[in-house]
Point group: C2
Chain length 304, copies 2
């Protein structure tokens, strides 16, 4: 029997799993924190892969989903959010040398889009947009059955498009990007600013406020928390109208931590999207849904 190993490198944790070609249930799966004092992420990544190496199967390939931009062709991590040791690191060569198995490296949101397309909510949809909304907003696009990569693998950064000129500062240094308004971080930041302005809320007791806190407060009817998700959803819906004009997908899938609160923002998304499309044809048969593979979209998409 043969097996494939998939790795998902995120800012806070690294995960790995081994899969047989016939099942989405891993043979072995493991996760570790991304950074630990006194050891390098590289060494710990080797240990992680060893820990999921199957006992009886031959490993045919290793696929790696990495947060942030990657050079897909060269197999180099360009920037790894929160793991500076991996910036400009030739990860594919490193793993190939240690395990003598071909390695494929991709951006985590792109591979999550592939995972949802092949095995998840997007099955049968050859024109698909996937968003992962958590700390930031990542995205992956399938067009005509092909993953959108661009000339240097830097395409489909939909979170870094302007929705509000001179708007809030984005981690990339630009202003008014979708990520700076509708990500989990941006939701929490907006709530904090409103609290500082004296807006009453049950959240005033919490320090620091996270998007998860805001979601919990919204679930209990807190008006500021509800307004925060409505604002994020409205901007997301307006941006989505433009993405429909650009890509004309048949399905849009939301993944990532914030998507677990989809019931709090999907209606504002729909209202703003409907208001801003130039023709009803863009939304007539459009499906808007959440990731079917949950946190495993990227890991499952990293198999090849």
């Amino acid at each position: 029997m043969i097996a494939h190993i998939a790795i998902d490198i995120g800012g806070t944790r690294m995960r790995a799993a081994s899969y047989s070609p016939t099942s989405l249930t891993p043979i072995k799966i493991n996760r570790i924190p991304s950074r630990v004092l006194g050891t390098t992420p590289q060494i710990r990544l080797l240990d992680l892969v060893n820990s999921v190496w199957p006992d009886d199967e031959d490993v045919e390939s290793i696929g790696v989903a990495s947060a942030g931009p990657v050079d897909h062709e060269a197999g180099i991590v360009m920037t790894s959010p929160n793991i500076p040791e991996l910036n400009n690191f030739p990860l594919s060569d490193y793993l190939l040398q240690h395990f003598d198995v071909p390695v494929m490296l991709g951006n985590d949101a792109n591979l999550a889009a592939l995972g949802e397309w092949k095995y998840g909510a997007g099955q049968g949809h050859d024109h698909l947009i996937y968003f992962t909304i958590s700390t930031g907003i990542g995205s992956g696009v399938i067009m005509g059955g092909h993953l959108l990569t661009g000339s240097r693998g830097m395409a489909s950064e939909l979170g870094h498009t302007n929705v509000l000129p001179d708007g809030p500062l984005c981690v990339c240094g630009q202003r008014g990007h979708l990520e700076a308004i509708s990500s989990g971080t941006a939701i929490a930041r907006w709530v904090k600013a409103e609290l500082d302005n004296g807006v009453p809320s049950t959240l005033s007791k919490i320090q620091p406020v996270t998007a998860r806190d805001v979601a919990e407060a919204a679930g209990q009817g807190d008006e500021l928390a509800l307004a925060a998700f409505e604002r994020a959803g409205t901007y997301l819906g307006r941006a989505l109208a433009d993405f429909l004009h650009i890509f004309n997908p048949s399905i849009v899938i939301f993944g990532g931590g914030v998507s677990k609160s989809a019931d709090l923002f999907i209606e504002p998304v729909r209202i703003a999207m409907k208001k801003h499309v130039i023709s009803p044809g863009y939304i007539e048969n459009l499906i808007i849904t959440t990731a079917a593979l949950g946190d495993d979209s990227g890991l499952i998409g990293a198999q090849w």
Copy 2:
């Protein structure tokens, strides 16, 4: 010998040409106004095709580039700007019945992108964005060697993306779209508003002002005219930064009437684009140029 016929249906004129498979120089070419009182565009289109039908070659296919949205699969013109008789008209069936030759219908900007990619400025670039800037802003995108069409053929409407919330009204009914700020119509409209505000200019003697008038005045150093192109270019460059994040192309090509004044807006485009990209990698080897096939991009791209 065999030949292909290509048709380009625009708001003001219809053009047709016959081509042998080995040359971009037409066997025959002809053009007529799109609308004439006392006859239908359909009948005149048949006359136009007959007028370019080759004497000695067998016609193998007819390709039609039509302005505005089309249903590519069904061969139906959805909306034809300025030719209401063609709205929702099954053009492919109509031509097939009359000429007994297979017909392919596409959006003109999409087919112009194909033309520039195969035979023009975009040769060798499999990740390409083409803009036609004239009355409006049309666009076509080649990604990984495939024309971006979307699930219903309605993709790549890059002119209808928001660059200025609550900005100028677009012909589509939305506000602040790129087309409403950087098209020829928008340039002329902005100049008119400035003139109405009392801004001095040599253009104050002209009624009504067109984008061509503005270009001529700019060529003679008129400050208002120069400012109009700088404004249009700056917004175009900012939007382009986002399109680079989305598509990561290796080349951007400008066609259409306004692109003949590229020297007036390309520098503001470059400055704004450079200022707004999230990584220099997006512009390092990026080529920005004008259409090599000029007005024939769409006609040549309609061959198949």
